[in-house]
Symmetry: D2
Subunit: 143 residues, 4 copies
């Protein structure tokens, strides 16, 4: 529930008549933005306080192709938050069929507006607390 | 000669198996960037001096479809430069067949880094002189 | 009412900290897709019947910059439908402030899946009727 | 040598004034396209013979930000080719400073035009031979 919905646009398709793989990386960002928003720590809020969260890594597995006009439901889970680094995982589903179409992950650090690494734990304890509370460790999920 | 060459990328195609129309707007920017560079007033140079040139209008006519892997030659001409506003026109050709595939135009104003309109004529006479000299009026072209 | 809403994504911004102008061309497509869907003649329906509607021209005026996370409301009106050609006009508003941020237009022809021009009036009278009924001529609007 | 050069475009930057991370996935494709071209098995050649090579996975590590107008040199190496699956690895450098800015990888299968998996080894032995010969195993590299 509360997953992000992306409707596939025509400009996201390629000449194989499926969505070009680079767009999934953007859907992950769209879903992450909305997820943080709902937790009261959206990008706009964070940037206003001087916090950037650059992507230091992404990965994506493509299981089934997706097509124009399909609704893709993106489920987001925070993982492995350390106070200075955050790993976010994504499951993308065809919202009509319910099929898992893709899984992905992004890893983030936190910097000030000059690009210097910062520790949320030390400098922004309220943001740190929200993230720490939202994390679902992989272990806990498996049990 | 000295036209800009863009090689069509796979991610620029759509499910009609031709280039999606939005990409031509980006090719016009690519060609404009290189054109200004060659005239010594590239974006990096201008921004370092505090000059931005936002786009206030674009237009594009699509005459023939373009395809993955084709080389597109973009011919750039400056038009109607007034000291505070610039119109740039573009002709895009399939570089192999020589066919005209598209024509376009972009209109620009000039602002400082805070987005306030500026007059190049008054504040940056050297940049103004380069642009004024590079303009090819439509009339002159027809003769 | 029933206008299309686009939420501005982070990947649509550029280093001027505003939306890159090429993205508005894509928003126009997003809104056009939804508009035709609501009229029962969406892209998927049309392509299933063998009808493509390539873009033969676009234009866009940028009146005010738009920013990450803003909600843009796109109002669509069909204009000048001739049975073989369609002009669509767009007004884009900041949905919070109500300010007009951009106006645009796209012109379309209709082809079969092999790219041959077709006349909707002759070959697809039901689609033709829907488009003809949805057109709001510029004159009528002004009165 | 023979690495692919990508010049960073303005539309690839975001409001952090660096390249948006999704674009590196596209640069990897640009470099892969050119690499295969130089080996005589470019996308156009392969598609003409009925071979598609969908991406089944991508990953990218961002080590240093990249900026508008920089030239990025992308070094491509084929890895772990099995006849039905291929892993490609990428190193991206700032071409002026020589600094490594990013590393990435993409994994591909091979299908016919209907999306059915095929074995190059069995069905296209000449393409198979080119790929097999171009592979640089990770072990060999380390020695």
């Amino acid at each position: 529930m509360n997953d992000y919905i992306h409707r596939v646009q025509y400009y996201e398709t390629d000449q194989m008549a499926v969505v070009h793989h680079s767009n999934y990386i953007r859907w992950m960002e769209e879903a992450r933005v909305e997820f943080l928003d709902r937790h009261g720590i959206g990008f706009v809020t964070l940037e206003a306080r001087g916090i950037l969260s650059p992507v230091v890594g992404v990965e994506c597995r493509y299981r089934r192709p997706t097509h124009f006009d399909e609704r893709i439901r993106v489920h987001v889970e925070l993982r492995e938050y350390t106070g200075v680094r955050l790993r976010v995982e994504y499951e993308m589903y065809n919202d009509q069929s319910g099929e898992l179409v893709s899984t992905g992950a992004s890893t983030h650090c936190f910097t000030n507006m000059q690009g210097r690494p910062i520790s949320l734990q030390r400098d922004y304890p309220d943001v740190d607390a929200v993230l720490a509370a939202a994390v679902i460790p992989a272990k806990q999920k498996d049990e």
